[in-house]
Structures are given as C-alpha cells and as structure tokens.
C-alpha cells in the first residue's frame, strides 16, 4: 500500500518547560485514507502534527512524504510538499472576502500589479463548485457561519493543491448538522485520493469517519488500528490506559431547598447586534443541588457565565441573591455578596500567569490577612500551604503559577473559590483540558459542595459532564431556554434527546423555572 506520510521515531522536547511531548513516535498515513489521531489532552497529538507541518522541528526521527525523506523546516516547505493544515483557531482575515483569504499570497494580478478581483472570485468559485461547498467567493468572511469559515480553510488548502490534509479538532466548534456536512466533504476528498489526518478525541466521530485510528498516550504512539475492528470502549481504554467510569452520586432527595440565585427574565444584548445573547432567561438555583446549563458553544452558555461573574451588563430583567437584588453589580460587588466562581478561561481570567501561587490564591481573600493596609505574610503563606495540602495540589506557595500543570492550576483555583464560597458557586467548563483523574476530583468537590447545601451552578458544553453531574438541566439555544429537566427525567435523559434540544430541533412547550 502506498504511504502518503511516514514518520519514524519522532522525538520532541519543548525546551521552555522540558516537557517531552513526543517520544519515538511512528505514524503511517496511507494514500486516500482518513486517519484519526486520537488521545487525551496533552497526549502529544498536536505536537506531532506541528512537526509534520513544519511548525516545530523534531529533536530526532525522520519524515518521508510519498516515500521520499524530507526535512520539513517550515510550513512553507510543508506546503511545497502538498501538506495543508486546518487549525483549530481559524487563520482567516475576517474583513476580507472568501476569495481574498483563499488567495492571500498567490493573488491574481492585472497589468502586472493590480489585484484582479474578478479573476480571484472566478478562480475560487471554481474550486468551491468542484467540491460542492456552500460558499460564495465574494462574501466577507465575517458574515459566514462557523461551519462555512471552516470550509474556507479547506478551500484554502485545496486551492494550493494540498493532497495531505491535517485537521486539528475540526468538529469542536460545529453543530451536528455542520459536522455531518463536513464528514461528507472529507469522505469525498478521500475518494478523490486525498489523504487526511483528523486530530480528535471524540469517540463516536472516530467511528463515524475514520478508516484507521492512531491512538496516542503520554507522548507515545499506542498503536494504529483498523476502525472497523474497534468499538468506542476499546479506543477509550487505549487512550486512557485503564477504563475509568466517572460516577457521582446524585442528590436523591434534595434536603430543604431554598432559592439562592434567581434570574427573572434576564435579557442581554450586544450593541449593534439584533439577536439578543440572552432572551428573557428565567431560572432559580436552589441550595443543595447542582444546576447544569447545557448548550452548543455560542448559544448563551458563555453569556450566563459572564452575567453571573459580573462581566457584562443586562438590559432587562432582575437577578436576585436571596432577597437582595444583584442585577448589574460588578465583580467586586458580587464577590462581597458571596460570589464564588471557577471561570472557563483559567489562564486569562482565573489566574495571573507570572504571579506566585500564593498571590493567585489570595486574590479574593486578601482582606483576611490585612491589618491596617499591610499584609501579614506569615498568615497568607500558611493559609496557602494549608489549601495546597488539602486539595492535593502539587505546588508550593512561592512558585509562579505558570510553572504548574493544567490540573494543578485548576486545583489552585478550586481551592481558592471553594474556600470563600458562602452559599452559591459557579463552575464554568471546570474540566476542560483536564485528565480523567483531575476531572474526577473536580466532580467530587462539586458533589461535596452540593451535599453541604450549596447552590452549585455548572455551565458546560461537555454533555457527558452535564449528564454525569447535574441534578437539574437547563438547555440553552440561541439565548433561549428551550428545555429543562429535573429529577429522574434528568438522570434518564439520553444524549441524543438532549442533543436535539441543543441543536434547536426540539423545544419544550411551556417552561417553568
């Protein structure tokens, strides 16, 4: 069988943090196949692909393209060899048209110097038509949907005659329908003789699209398998090393439930946009329960987080904390009202990278150590050490927090927020990017808080997480509350059913909070 790519014994260590991301990794990509590169976060998938694409250089090991040994020193070299990559974050200039993006760097010219707009559109429309994309070359990229933007990225590669395509988590931002359309396109490309590598960790997608699956774990290649011979359980076991099922006991009978946080017809509008980000959202978070918010990205989850955190103003409705109104308070005021909050963006919002662990831990607690304006360093240090110990975070107080692993950073944030909670606490995407053990730890903490009587609000686009942990579930679609499930109903909910609500295919008739 002809090999499009053969990587042999690739080893790559990042000098900044001495992390060995790839260790003697082998990978073969056959011509005309779709290969899924699977593994948990941090398994080394992205690094391996960056090496193939010339964005990183390997310490040792060789790469052959179509049977010839090549030294791929930059993306430019990779492109010359017919390799193209679609990044997770789109590399598109929003203010340019589709054609202008596709042709950046290889623009058609008139009179030797002028940009030939007409020819540009014609050239790109031709490629679009050949591969049946739903695009128009003259549209501005900022007016496209996420799925269409991804198509533009693919067109960009096809236009440059790439026959080896790498896609980094291509479905992360797409709706179910868009994923289906993407898979159809990818299958067509493979049938036309293109060879594709998809980085992913979603098991059902691996099953749905790939011919073979390559599994990585902790920087090593576990093996490459024919997909038809594997089921989701096998792949998962290979990815994780051992099978763990995350289980959390649900609150069987909520003790005495008191309303803690009440949203009463809250509406959020971004200026200049017609569709409200949140539309008349009402709900109540009770003590002693975990209230989960589910939805596809861009449908209001982030907005609920930002409103609870005091980051964006509302234009209508009221928010109550017990009896007192907290509508449009800023974060500082909300903190005084008892806000405890684990944000989705731990690096940009949840921590200050260059500050020490201690400085990160005391941000919401500095008043505890302050006397007449001066900080009692002894007190703050012992407080920090106590927290690190009781949350089993592998860190010391005086380390800069950016020297910690993702899991340990999240433990520091959890420790800080849980320590200061009064009666409610917000978790947004709390296990994003964490390994199984760390995720389990987070779930246990949430359950413990719930059992102690806290109102726990969980905002998560991870459906498994919502179904595992939440006692009550609210589904958001386009800023509307389209469904809610409680008690037994919530526990017996199937992924498919809740998925239909998340995609706006179904919605419940009358909604009560």
């Amino acid at each position: 069988m002809e090999l499009a790519v053969e990587m042999l014994a690739i080893t790559k260590t990042y000098p900044e943090n001495n992390i060995r991301a790839n260790e003697a990794v082998d990978l073969q990509l056959r011509k005309g196949e779709i290969l899924c590169l699977a593994g948990e976060n941090g398994a080394g998938k992205t690094t391996l692909m960056k090496v193939l694409y010339g964005m990183e250089s390997q310490d040792s090991g060789t790469i052959s393209i179509h049977g010839r040994k090549e030294s791929i020193t930059s993306p430019l070299v990779a492109k010359g060899l017919g390799i193209g990559m679609v990044h997770q974050h789109f590399m598109l200039v929003e203010e340019f048209t589709v054609a202008q993006n596709v042709l950046l760097g290889i623009e058609p010219v008139r009179f030797g110097i002028s940009y030939d707009q007409k020819k540009a559109n014609a050239l790109v429309n031709e490629v679009i038509a050949r591969h049946h994309f739903s695009l128009e070359a003259g549209t501005l990229v900022k007016d496209l949907t996420v799925g269409q933007k991804q198509q533009v990225e693919i067109v960009k590669m096809l236009y440059r005659d790439a026959d080896i395509l790498i896609l980094d988590e291509p479905t992360a931002v797409l709706t179910e329908q868009e994923i289906e359309a993407l898979f159809t396109t990818l299958r067509q490309l493979a049938n036309h003789g293109k060879s594709l590598i998809l980085i992913t960790h979603k098991l059902h997608e691996i099953k749905a699209i790939s011919d073979r699956v390559a599994v990585m774990r902790q920087g090593r290649m576990v093996g490459i398998y024919e997909t038809t011979r594997m089921d989701e359980r096998n792949i998962s076991a290979l990815m994780m090393g051992k099978t763990i099922s995350l289980e959390i006991a649900h609150a069987e009978k909520p003790q005495k439930s008191l309303p803690v946080i009440v949203f009463d017809k809250v509406t959020v509008v971004r200026r200049g946009q017609e569709r409200p980000l949140l539309n008349n959202l009402s709900f109540t978070a009770y003590s002693g329960e975990i209230l989960g918010f589910a939805g596809v990205g861009g449908n209001g989850l982030g907005v609920v987080e930002a409103v609870l955190g005091g980051f964006i103003p509302t234009v209508g409705g009221r928010i109550l904390h017990h009896e007192s109104e907290i509508t449009n308070m800023n974060t500082a005021q909300l903190r005084k009202q008892g806000l405890a909050y684990v944000p989705s963006d731990r690096l940009r919002i949840g921590s200050a990278a260059k500050a020490t662990v201690e400085e990160n831990i005391m941000v919401n607690a500095s008043h505890m150590f302050t006397r007449q304006g001066f900080i009692d360093k002894k007190k703050s240090a012992s407080f920090t050490e106590r927290l690190l110990a009781s949350y089993k975070a592998k860190a010391t107080a005086q380390m800069p927090i950016n020297t910690l692993s993702g899991g340990n950073i999240q433990k520091v944030i959890l420790a800080r927020e849980i320590e200061q909670y009064q009666d409610y606490i917000v978790f947004s995407e709390p296990t994003w990017g964490l390994d199984v053990a760390s995720s389990q730890f987070v779930y246990e903490q949430m359950a413990e808080l719930r059992d102690k009587g806290a109102a726990v609000i969980l905002i998560s686009s991870n459906l498994d997480e919502i179904l595992t942990v939440a006692d009550r579930i609210i589904v958001l679609y386009h800023g509307y509350r389209v469904a809610s499930f409680a008690g037994k109903e919530a526990r017996n909910l199937s992924k498919e059913e809740i998925g239909e609500y998340m995609l706006g295919i179904r919605r419940q008739g009358t909604l009560h909070g």
């Binding site: 930059s74 993306p75 430019l76 492109k79 990559m85 990044h87 974050h89 590399m91 598109l92 200039v93 929003e94 203010e95 340019f96 202008q100 993006n101 950046l104 760097g105 623009e107 010219v109 110097i113 002028s114 940009y115 960009k156 971004r270 200026r271 200049g272 946009q273 930002a306 980051f311 964006i312 103003p313």
Partner: protein, 300 residues
C-alpha cells in the same frame, strides 16, 4: 475675511509634512505597530536633506540623499524591533532620542554651532502653479502656488490608496495587522511586510522632513517640535484610511495656521500657541475615544 485665504493657503503648506509622515505611519499602523518613531524620522529627514543639499548644492539630490538616510534609520529601527524582538514603543523612543542627539552632535562638529544653522547656498523652494490656474477665485488662491512637496504629497496619497486597496501587496499589508497568523500560516512572513512598512515610513518622513528644512534654508534643533506625534494622532483621527488622513491633516494644518495668525494678531504668549497643537491633539484623542466607546460594542 481678508485673512482667511492666507490662513487656508498656509494651512495647506503646514499640513504637508504631517500628511507625509502620517502616510508612512499608516503602513506601520496597518501592520499592527504603534510607530512613535515618526517624530525622530522626520527630524532625521529634515537634518540630513538640508545638510546633503548644502554639500551637494542640489536640493533634489539632497532630498534624495536625505530620504536615503532616513530610510537607513528606519531600517535600523526595523531590524532591532523585528529581528531582535524589541518593544516597538521603546525602540521608537530610541529613534526619537537618537535623532535629537545626533543632529545636534553633528551640527556641533560640522559647524561648531548647536543653535540655528542657516545655509546661504540653499535657495528658497520654487513655488509651482500657472498664473491662469492661480486666477481661479478662492480655490486657486488656496491650492496653487505651493512647492513641489505639496503636490508630491497628494500624488503619494493617491499611490498610497491604490497600493493598500488595489494591489496584492496592500492586501498582505492589511492582513498583517488584521490577523498575522493567517499570513504566516500561508507561508508568508509578517515580519517582511512590517519591515517594508518601516521603510515606507522612513521614505515619507524623509520627504516630509526635507520640506521642513528646505522651506527655511536652515536647520533648527528640534525643528519638528512634535509633528511626528501629531502625525500619529492624524492616523487615528483619520480612522486609518488614506482619505481620512487628508481630512485630519487639514484640521491640524488649519489649527496651526490659525494659531500662527493668532500669535501675530491677538498677542497670545508664544508658549501658549506652541502648546496649542498638543492640547488640540489631546482633545481630539479624548473625543475620538469617547466616540469609539459610545459606538463600540459592550466588552467584558
């Protein structure tokens, strides 16, 4: 209103170095860099063109050499900023400090004088314009009878517009500032376009500076007196569009021309007049940021 036309006429002269400097600055700004070195580049252009004109005896050759010197300085700025990965703001300060120091040091060692150096062998700039055109009422009085620099700046503005919006080069310039990873993901080097942008700044500032000194036939230490900073503000006020630059530069030209008039006619202390451009710039900045905030979307 007999004084209005002379004010407008001199506003057109005054705005020209500002327009030129801001055009070059537009390129650096569009590639995503706050280029505060415009001030130092203008000063270097002013100094080197008048010196070179003096020694070569030709204003054209002198101006060309002056532009070359200024582009040389901007190339140094580019290499230090891009290749040594320095903060563009700090290196910009360095250019301003270097120009201020070097011009005085060289004046001192060449002419033994740290003050105003007058060059007698440099004639005043010829003013262009046919009498028939100049006879057009008002417009003729305002727009005809300027030096070649003025008309050159309009030509360059046209070229600038065409380059940015009509050539592949312009698209890559703009892409550099809008999303430089998009460029590098396609194998193009953002730094290359940033480098060109610095060189273009050097070119237009060299030309603008030349106009300042050749107009006078003399070099005065710190002759630019904040014009590079105002050029920077013009870029913002002009909304980073070539035509916007023209309007914003005109506003500053008018303000300056009026304050020159006021200085003579209204007996306002000269220091206050000199302070006026800075205060006006400040007001313009505040005004535009209030506008931007009112207009802008809610951000967290």
């Amino acid at each position: 209103m007999q004084f209005t036309i002379p004010i407008l006429h001199s506003a057109v002269t005054i705005m020209t170095p500002l327009l030129l400097a801001s055009m070059g600055g537009l390129f650096t700004e569009l590639t995503g860099m706050l280029n505060i070195a415009l001030e130092g580049l203008l000063l270097m252009g002013a100094f080197s063109s008048v010196i070179c004109s003096h020694y070569t005896g030709s204003m054209v050759v002198g101006t060309l050499l002056g532009i070359a010197c200024t582009m040389g300085l901007s190339a140094i700025l580019a290499v230090v900023t891009l290749n040594l990965k320095s903060n563009v703001f700090i290196t910009g300060l360095a250019v301003n400090l270097l120009s201020a120091g070097l011009t005085v040091v060289l004046c001192f060692s060449l002419f033994g004088n740290k003050g105003v150096v007058v060059f007698d062998n440099i004639p005043s700039l010829p003013l262009l314009g046919t009498p028939s055109l100049a006879r057009i009422p008002i417009l003729g009085d305002i727009f005809i009878g300027h030096s070649a620099f003025v008309y050159l700046s309009w030509l360059l503005l046209g070229i600038c517009y065409y380059t940015l919006y009509g050539t592949p080069f312009g698209f890559r310039f703009r892409a550099t500032g809008l999303h430089q990873e998009a460029l590098s993901a396609l194998g193009l080097s953002p730094n290359r376009y940033k480098f060109f942008a610095f060189l273009i700044s050097g070119f237009t500032c060299g030309l603008g500076g030349a106009m300042l000194t050749l107009n006078l036939g003399a070099f005065v230490p710190n002759i630019t007196a904040g014009k590079g900073w105002i050029a920077l503000v013009i870029i913002f006020l002009g909304n980073k569009k070539p035509l916007g630059l023209l309007l914003a530069a005109l506003v500053f030209g008018l303000a300056d021309a009026f304050s020159n008039y006021a200085q003579g006619a209204l007996q306002v202390p000269s220091d206050f007049i000199l302070a006026l451009p800075y205060l006006l710039t400040l007001l313009a900045m505040v005004g535009s940021s209030i506008y931007a905030k009112k207009k802008g979307a809610i951000e967290s």
